[in-house]
């Protein structure tokens, strides 16, 4: 693909992902509602909420520091840049060389770092609960994520998303048990990192259960809007990550050389929708677990990914 197209793809993606993110959230909510035999709000409800929040004035606690004020912007920025690194529209990306999967994980970690600090800034007990639980979950989730990256790197021979995407699209890839394990592991990590059921419930404000919501409890107005956008963007990021790495079908409909952009885009939307349905099913069919069972949940993810790595090593050395 020519450089110009790469840049184009990059810009398109940078613009489209934040625009689509609330939609995904809305879709998931809608499907969940339907599965629970409710009509549920329209899939565009998240956009309305964002608009409402932006209209409102923002209330800050008296002792909130500059860090508390700037945190939402930083979080969104980190998430956005991370999202830009996922090659959703074909393997080539202009910014590909800026960072690989590890950098992506690092950027998300930075976002979390800032957010957890913000949770502690006002000095309320809820912020503390949220932050401490969040870092605990991250402490288990990140190794799993890294093991997954490692498995992918072993298969594709690179930690670079473009390279991985290119490799999984190439016919050279046969059926790999490691990939299957990695797929499950990534889903579990994604659930944890986005605070979905069973790890966390984005729709509750019940003290004992909430993690993410407790951190952002003190936010309001435009700040809250940014954070909401960031979290839905985070969800979209993981979904498209799964889509790119594990659902590589775009290559098959390559008519001549590269598939036309529209087709790729439609295909991408289809994948995302499918995954949204999957997520909704999963969430309605399972109950939230106690906070201190989360490490076991993620530990299982870590084990799966580690197993993927080891099997990969074996199969390579055979």
């Amino acid at each position: 693909m020519a450089v110009s197209e790469a840049i184009l793809a990059q810009v398109m993606q940078a613009a489209l992902l934040p625009a689509l993110a609330p939609l995904l959230t809305g879709i998931v909510r809608k499907i969940k509602a339907r599965l629970q035999l409710r009509r549920g709000p329209s899939i565009f409800q998240p956009y309305r909420e964002l608009a409402r929040l932006l209209r409102k004035e923002s209330v800050l606690a008296n002792n909130a520091s500059w860090l508390f004020e700037t945190a939402p912007l930083a979080v969104l920025a980190f998430t956005w840049v991370a999202a830009c690194l996922v090659p959703v529209f074909g393997p080539e990306l202009a910014l590909g060389s800026a960072g690989d999967l590890i950098a992506l994980t690092g950027l998300l970690a930075s976002a979390r770092f800032v957010l957890t600090l913000a949770g502690l800034d006002v000095g309320t007990s809820f912020g503390g609960i949220g932050s401490s639980r969040e870092v605990m979950i991250a402490a288990v989730a990140e190794p799993a994520m890294l093991m997954l990256i490692f498995a992918l790197a072993l298969i594709a021979g690179s930690t670079h998303l473009s390279a991985i995407a290119a490799f999984v699209e190439s016919p050279a890839l046969g059926l790999r048990i490691s990939l299957g394990l990695g797929f499950v592991g990534l889903i579990m990590v994604a659930i944890a990192e986005n605070g979905r059921i069973p790890v966390d419930n984005p729709a509750t404000h019940l003290e004992l259960t909430m993690v993410h919501e407790a951190m952002v409890l003190e936010y309001s107005g435009r700040h809250l809007a940014l954070i909401e956008l960031a979290s839905s963007l985070n969800l979209l990021l993981y979904v498209s990550l799964i889509a790119v790495v594990f659902l590589p079908f775009s290559a098959n409909l390559a008519i001549d050389g590269a598939p036309p952009f529209a087709v790729v885009f439609a295909l991408y939307l289809a994948k995302v929708f499918g995954l949204a349905v999957l997520l909704a099913f999963f969430e309605v069919s399972i109950a939230k677990m106690r906070v201190f069972r989360v490490p076991q949940f993620l530990g299982a993810a870590l084990m799966l990914t580690l197993l993927a790595v080891l099997l990969r090593l074996v199969s390579r050395s055979l």
Binding site: A61, A74, A98, L120, T124, S125, A139, G157, S317
Partner: protein, 666 residues
């Protein structure tokens, strides 16, 4: 030429020390001494940098020390790099101390030893024979010990100094044994002949293990780390920064010098030992740090974690080198050394920050701090940079070096040996765990210390620290950012070192271009790109807000789900912040137990929670030794109080026994 100049610098430092000791009681020398140390270290730093750049080497033999051996000094790429690390830390610490040292109430206990300590570290890096090396090594330990016990009125510091000096002596003797093997029966103590002679693999293995133990005991690898969290905080903060940020690196230098330079090729199995030790050290170190609520001890424990990361890198380098994978070895070695540099930056920065907090509030206990971001904004932001860097967050330097280490781990499929193939990914997982926990640890450190509401009057009344301290911290913070944005610059500077250690080097790119681990790899990381993207994104978001959002902001009481509580005691403390992680990991690592006392209905007494942690290393390794020594001492003591006749009996018996031996032997 350069070597002579650097040696002159150390001589000047020693002279300053003597001067401070000689006339210290007449005039307050705080400012002059630290200014002089800063200047001299700056000069030495310059020489180190230009040696590293020009790649020149030099050797020198002074007619002191052992007459037939002399004191050999040599500067090569490796030495030059560590010279840079040492003197950079020296400059920063001296500048910081220009301000911080004024709060010292017994300056005469600190001033003479500080320059001597700097000189000692410089000399260790330059020494080129076993005698001078250990001489300077132990001199370094001795001076730092004097600094550790400088506040000798607190018994805790004395205990810390006691354990520290014992461990230092232990390490020195172990290294001495290693050098004894290397030197051989003829006592060829100079490194040159050590390199040239080839010892058999078994002996080489023994040397490597001894080096790991000896140097590791000073660097603080588990389980030899026990002295470190005691000694580092006991010293004045600028010295803590030097000990934690720089002296541990000198220990790393010792290991590198022996393992890569002197013993020659070593078996890959040994590299597995190094890697495993490094991984365990990393995770345990950060777990220890998470359990701490004394700010300086937390930092000291966290040094253990970074040492672990460094040793993982070094172990990988050894393994790759043993298997003849030069490029990969170069990558691993560069990663480790780059992390050495980075850690010396942000660990010094963080210790300076804790020192600033300490001098502003008189508190090291985080549970009595809080809200300092309002009182000490500059210190807060500098400390935040350090915290983010040490938590390996892009686009700062900690992430760059950990990224390289991970890249080295990802090359492990190239290993022909099964053990290494399985060990490396597992270690990678350990490193990831350590990184995540480190982030948690510094969210706690920064959040509890600087955010929230003040937990004590001292914290509420704290004032921003002085200019000199801020200058030093700003210098280091700036370097952290630069090293994060342009890692290529530093990996390029490390190329000669990697060449010397592994006979290969990383592909060098233009400093602003993304970093590429190996020539064949497609991976890359461009810190500066990421920063630009972040700035762009931030600007766009800010613009969007300006255009579409309601800019009005109202201040009010915290909402806190409708039940705001004015008392600072309701905030999350350091203990409680670490509680989930303690629940998850502590039960294995520390046999952590929480005893909760909940008063019954109608009982008005307060509920209590009592947390008990067990340091398995101390309980399992060091306490028994101390116990054994005491037992033996008790058992032997009666021999002091025998009767003369019994003593005569001893003489008589030994005579008879010896004669009998002779009679049978003749």
């Amino acid at each position: 030429m350069i070597l002579d100049a650097v040696l002159l610098c150390t001589a000047a430092l020693i002279f300053v020390a003597i001067l401070a000791a000689a006339v210290g009681h007449r005039a307050p020398l705080t400012a002059p001494v630290y200014a002089a140390s800063a200047a001299i270290s700056a000069v030495a730093l310059g020489f180190g940098v230009c040696t590293l750049v020009t790649g020149s080497t030099g050797a020198l033999r002074l007619p002191i020390g052992l007459p037939w051996l002399g004191a050999n000094f040599r500067i090569d790429a490796l030495a030059a790099f560590f010279l840079v690390v040492v003197n950079l830390g020296g400059v920063a610490a001296s500048v910081f101390a220009l301000g911080y040292g004024r709060h010292e109430d017994h300056p005469r206990r600190v001033l003479p030893f500080f320059p001597a300590f700097l000189a000692g570290m410089n000399l260790v890096v330059l020494a080129d024979d076993a005698f001078s090396f250990l001489f300077c090594w132990e001199f370094m330990s001795l001076t730092s010990w004097a600094l550790v016990v400088s506040h000798d009125r607190e018994p805790a510091n004395l205990r810390a100094g006691y354990i520290y000096l014992l461990m230092a002596g232990f390490g020195t003797l172990v290294l001495l044994l290693a050098f004894g093997i290397l030197a051989g029966p003829q006592g060829a103590y100079d490194f040159l002949s050590m390199r040239s002679q080839h010892i058999d693999p078994a002996m080489a293995a023994l040397v490597l293990v001894l080096a790991l133990i000896g140097a590791g005991s000073k660097a603080g690898i588990v389980p030899l780390h026990v002295w470190l969290p005691l000694a580092h905080p006991a010293a004045p903060s600028h010295v803590s920064a030097l000990m934690s940020g720089v002296m541990t690196k000198v220990a790393v230098y010792a290991f590198v010098r022996i393992a890569f330079d002197l013993v020659g090729p070593v078996d890959w199995r040994l590299s597995m030992v190094v890697i495993a030790v490094g991984g365990v050290t990393a995770v345990l170190g950060v777990l220890y740090a998470l359990m701490e609520h004394d700010l300086k001890r937390l930092l000291a424990y966290h040094t253990v974690e970074n040492i672990g990361i460094i040793f993982v890198g070094l172990g990988l380098a050894l393994a790759f080198r043993a298997d003849g994978l030069a490029a990969a070895a170069a990558l691993a070695a560069t990663a480790a050394l780059f992390h050495v540099f980075n850690h010396s930056l942000f660990k010094s920065l963080l210790f300076f920050g804790s020192g600033a907090v300490l001098s502003a509030t008189g508190e090291r206990d985080m549970e009595k701090l809080g809200g300092l971001i309002h009182r000490m904004p500059k210190t807060a932001i500098l400390f935040l940079i350090g915290a983010a860097a040490i938590s390996a967050l892009p686009p700062l330097n900690g992430f760059a070096s950990e990224w390289l280490t991970f890249q080295a781990v990802f090359l492990s499929p190239q290993f022909p040996q099964w053990g290494l193939r399985f060990l490396s990914p597992a270690t990678g997982a350990l490193l990831a765990l350590a990184a995540a926990l480190a982030a948690a640890c510094f969210v706690k450190a920064f959040g509890v210390t600087f955010l929230g509401r003040a937990r004590s009057d001292a914290a509420a009344k704290a004032n921003e620290t002085d200019g000199a301290s801020l200058t030093a911290m700003t210098l280091l913070a700036g370097l952290c950012v630069v090293a994060g944005l342009f890692p290529g610059l530093f990996t390029a500077a490390l190329a000669p070192v990697a060449q010397q250690l592994t006979a290969a080097q990383m592909p060098t790119t233009a400093p602003w271009m993304p970093l590429v681990p190996t020539a064949t790899s497609a991976n890359s990381y461009g810190g500066v790109f990421l920063l630009l993207l972040l700035l762009l994104a931030g600007a766009l978001i800010a613009l969007a807000l300006r255009l579409f959002a309601n800019a009005a902001t109202r201040r009010g009481p915290a909402w806190d789900c409708g039940y705001p509580d004015p008392s600072p005691a309701t905030q999350y403390t350091a203990e409680s912040f670490a509680q989930p992680i303690r629940r998850v990991f502590g039960t294995i690592a520390f046999a952590a137990r929480e005893d909760v006392f909940m008063p019954g209905p109608g009982d008005l007494s307060a509920a209590r929670i009592h947390v008990r942690l067990i340091d398995h290393v101390w309980e399992g390794l060091f306490a028994p030794i101390a116990l054994a020594v005491n037992r033996i001492a008790d058992a032997m003591n009666p021999l002091q109080f025998l009767t003369i006749r019994r003593y005569l009996m001893l003489v008589f018996l030994s005579l008879v026994i010896l004669l009998t031996v002779l009679a049978l032997w003749l």
